[in-house]
């Protein structure tokens, strides 16, 4: 299948040898940052991301505080060396502002915010190396970091993207597929209820393709959830290192 001059699928195999429904390998490491309330790193294919959580703390500036509940703030940043394109050197660009916003909204749906009125919960997602699908990987990683911080949540969200090449749907797009596919749809799901908490789409799909894509996401989510839970349990297999002194 040729797409904008680049053949993304040859004999049923993608450029990196995966089939349409294969995900890249995922490895999550818990508690990578000592001074954060909770943290984790993820290696999702060639993506390398660290997520750390602070809070709940007093919401600053004060006008951002909500007297009835906590506010979730997220900063998604790509390191200047993370990609061959221009990122991060001049602070957050429009893309980073957008991804920060949607990531915060994902977690607003699961954190029990009413337990901490007037406070803020800060989530930092730092992309060290990117190869497509970093917002999905960032959400999956931040979810583990939040759980490790002890902030009460109703679920452990995960995210993955699905895309379209010709008439084929492909799961977990990498950078080249992201750039040259006809559609790219990152989705975040709450696995307990299969509720959608993030749905974006770049390009176009038919209604049937959309439904099939969602089914692929939910099917792959079982494996992602398993990896998340395994990473959390691994944090309690052996003594953790000491936390910070006052």
């Amino acid at each position: 299948m040729k797409n904008n001059g680049i053949q993304l699928i040859t004999n049923g195999k993608r450029l990196d040898g995966r089939t349409a429904r294969d995900m890249r390998s995922i490895k999550i490491t818990p508690n990578v940052v000592k001074n954060a309330a909770g943290s984790a790193s993820i290696e999702w294919g060639n993506n390398k991301i660290i997520a750390a959580v602070h809070g709940p703390t007093e919401a600053l500036p004060r006008h951002t505080a909500n007297p009835d509940r906590a506010v979730v703030k997220c900063r998604y940043m790509m390191a200047p060396f993370s990609s061959s394109e221009e990122h991060g050197r001049a602070g957050m660009n429009r893309r980073a502002v957008e991804i920060s916003k949607v990531t915060a909204e994902v977690f607003e749906n699961v954190i029990l915010l009413d337990q901490f009125p007037g406070t803020e919960i800060s989530i930092y997602v730092e992309v060290l190396q990117s190869d497509g699908g970093t917002r999905a990987a960032g959400i999956t990683c931040a979810s583990v970091a939040l759980a490790l911080s002890g902030i009460p949540m109703k679920d452990l969200p995960y995210a993955v993207s699905v895309g379209k090449v010709g008439n084929d749907l492909i799961l977990d797009l990498d950078k080249i597929e992201d750039n040259y596919s006809e559609a790219d749809m990152p989705v975040a799901i709450l696995p307990r209820t299969n509720s959608i908490v993030l749905l974006q789409m770049d390009g176009a799909m038919t209604k049937e393709q959309f439904k099939e894509g969602l089914a692929m996401v939910i099917e792959s989510g079982k494996e992602i959830s398993r990896i998340q839970k395994e990473a959390i349990r691994a944090a309690y297999q052996e003594p953790e290192k000491e936390k910070a002194h006052m």
């Binding site: 002890g150 009460p152 109703k154 307990r192 006052m246």
Partner: protein
Amino acid sequence: MKRIIVPGDLVEDKPLHLMDTFIEENKTYATVISIYDDEKKSLVPLEGLWYPQRDEPVIGVIEEAKLNTYTVQLSAPYKGIIISKYTEGKIENGDMVEAYVKELDKTGTVVLSRPRVLHGGKIVIIRPAKVHRLLGRANTMVKQISDGTGAMIKVGMNGAVWLKGGNIDIATDAVLRIQNEAHISGLTERIGNMVKDTAPKNASEPQAPKKHEESA
């Protein structure tokens, strides 16, 4: 059988009123990482934040003295305040204080009462979910460390632990070890072996200065 559960995991197929859980469609789900014992129906949180309860002790540091209140840094989502007219003696910025929760007001500030300045010593912060393990049943665990090392220990429910005197280094290590190994069985015995007879010979005297301090 004991199992580690994560947020969103099913605790029981029926509604159970346990801390750190929520009930939806007559089923109970976890909200924090915990260990759940299916037979005893008991849930022990491995992580979690501090929720102020009336009359429980907290330890903090005076952050700012205002006209008629002191604000207290509690290492928690909430800031503490002490109303000046309830204080006895002088309190200054940077003082470590022990106080009791009077109430949590609507603005998320913890009003504290009966403040007492803690002179000397240091504060170690542990995660609030581990405070009960540090105290032990009827305070046996903290007493064991205190007896073994000769250190004075006060535990704030906000996760701040004040230590002074005795073999403070071993006492600090023991406190942090309890935090890190709270979920591993045989902890009481391990801590017992760690702190046994480690107190300086005259525990009432401050610990002998270290060599490099003598030469300074």
